[in-house]
Amino acid sequence: MIAIPYLTALSTYFSYGLLFAFGQLRDFFRKIVDWWRASTLDGYAPICLGLEDFYIRRLYLRIQDCFGRPISSAPDAWFDVVERYSNDNNKTLKRTTKTSKCLNLGSYNYLGFAAADEYCTPRAIESLKKFAASTCSTRVDGGTTMLHTDLEECVARFVGKPAAVVFGMGYVTNSAILPILMGKGGLIISDSLNHNSIVNGARGSGATIRVFQHNTPSHLETVLREQIAEGQPRTHRPWKKIMVIVEGIYSMEGELCKLPEIVSICKKYKAYVYLDEAHSIGAVGKSGRGVCELLGVDTADVDVMMGTFTKSFGSCGGYIAGSKELVQYLKYTCPAHLYGTAISPPGAQQIISSIKVILGEDGSNRGAQKLARIRENSNFFRSELQKMGFEVLGDNDSPVMPIMLYNPAKIPAFSRECLRQKVAVVTVAFPATPLLLARARICISAAHTKEDLVKALEVISGVGDLVGIKYFPAEPNKQHQEHGTIKLE
């Protein structure tokens, strides 16, 4: 539930309407000008219809310099951002050789493993020397090294399931597994704010897709009852399989999933639960085991647990953890396993080492320190931002905090002004978020020190005043309150 000031909603619609109108006007004139010029196509159909890339051409390209900024160092707490300039109003951007050192509030670096780590990096370099940078093969041909089998056991033990299978890419994990698990005649019920990989996988599977209101278990129950009663479309036969897909932490909201209620509803109606823990594995929970540990859900109740290694483990790839039979079946049928290249060995070694650090098996308590630090950092940052009057989404303990911007003009203003003051933030707008609800998404890391966070708060507060995004009344300082009471007395 987001509370929008009414006037802001009206002005946001008006701004988008104006941008849309100008874009259409420019398209109209472009069509007239192009009519006179000879076409190079000569009988071929155009690659995209004029309407399809309207958003990219007329809205996204105008503020292109706020997205896709190249960096020239490891994405640690501070990193180097390459400066770019444009001669044709952001249609093309050219890189310069200058870089500026900025505070990194955008990378998914929850536990600080993105930069060189004293335990993980030497081991990754050793495995690079031993195994080479790539396995140059799929898992079934020649790509399964000892590292891969170790990694799968390690992940299964960490997550709390009997077995796991790993893939080279996180997006592909969702979009290649869902068509295997579900087929025509099945029903997929997915949260309305699920990630694009889940939406694509569900569409590719051929099953019927129904959506329930974000994080609302009562609506999930309504949808389940309705669908089970109606059966398959047109034939009304019973569904072959029903699967409910939810995420641990929603990356655009920073909210935790209401897992206990959802799991109990699914058990009642005999539906499978698929939990996508891309942002929550390694970052929440007392020992970093994800949202199941945090909310006290038994991992045996969640049928398929999926996650990625990009966020907390500083590597790349994805995994699926489940029962032994499920993982065995996936290894026979999943195209990402049969035909896709295996995870590169240094990447696999990085994951194994980072899991060891998190669990404390490397002999130190750095893992527990990192987890405590990220929790403290997130809670401190979120409460300070809320005290300043920003509208921040997300639950406590969640390291993802979106700050609402709403107006399309505030997106480039916030992004550029923060960059000028050496703080790099990621702004997200339509179509990744709903039209009204554009936001700046901050990802807190265990590598941020208190001074970094205080500096970030100062910069964001100053920029927030300039841009005008402090939608809630700021809480008065405690000192003023005390003065007030003293004066009254």
Partner: protein, 154 residues
């Protein structure tokens, strides 16, 4: 001062923005603002200004709601390419509150335009034609109907 926004269950990002609060008010404010601008720019009578607004509204809404098909993003992969915006909203469910509102607005505009021009020809003819076309295009029976194949798929 604040309104609550609940994310809707519509997956089509081209149309789900219409279910958020504030859309109806913005629409009406835009209509009034454009009437005012027409009055300032053309310096005509109030009735002519309303007729101009009504006909411009007809052209704009017919083009964008009932003529243009598909969505302005490529990653919808063309699943809505055969449907106009009107057929896409709320997943094709007919007679919802939004649809009823959008059907009433051209009729109210027509009444205002014809009242302020005292029902004189030729403005009355054009206004009536415009509102007739718009309201018929919004009937539930016209869902996915292409008369004589106009604007049909290839």
């Amino acid at each position: 001062m604040y309104v609550r926004a609940v994310p809707p269950t519509d997956l089509n990002r081209n149309t789900e923005w219409f279910t958020y609060p504030g859309v109806w008010t913005t629409y009406i404010i835009i209509l009034f603002t454009s009437w005012f601008m027409v009055l300032c720019l053309l310096g005509c009578s109030a009735g002519t200004a309303w007729t101009v607004v009504h006909l411009a509204h007809f052209i704009v809404t017919y083009h964008f709601f009932h003529w243009k098909k598909g969505t302005p993003f490529a990653d919808d992969q063309g699943i809505y390419n055969g449907l106009t915006w009107w057929e896409q909203i709320e997943n094709g469910k007919q007679l919802t509150r939004n649809r009823k509102f959008l059907t009433v607005v051209p009729v109210v505009l027509y009444l205002i335009a014809s009242h302020t021009t005292d029902y004189q020809n030729p403005m009355l003819f054009f206004n009536t034609l415009a509102v007739f076309v718009l309201v018929v295009a919004k009937f539930p029976h016209m869902h996915k109907v292409r008369i004589f194949g106009i604007n049909g798929d290839f």
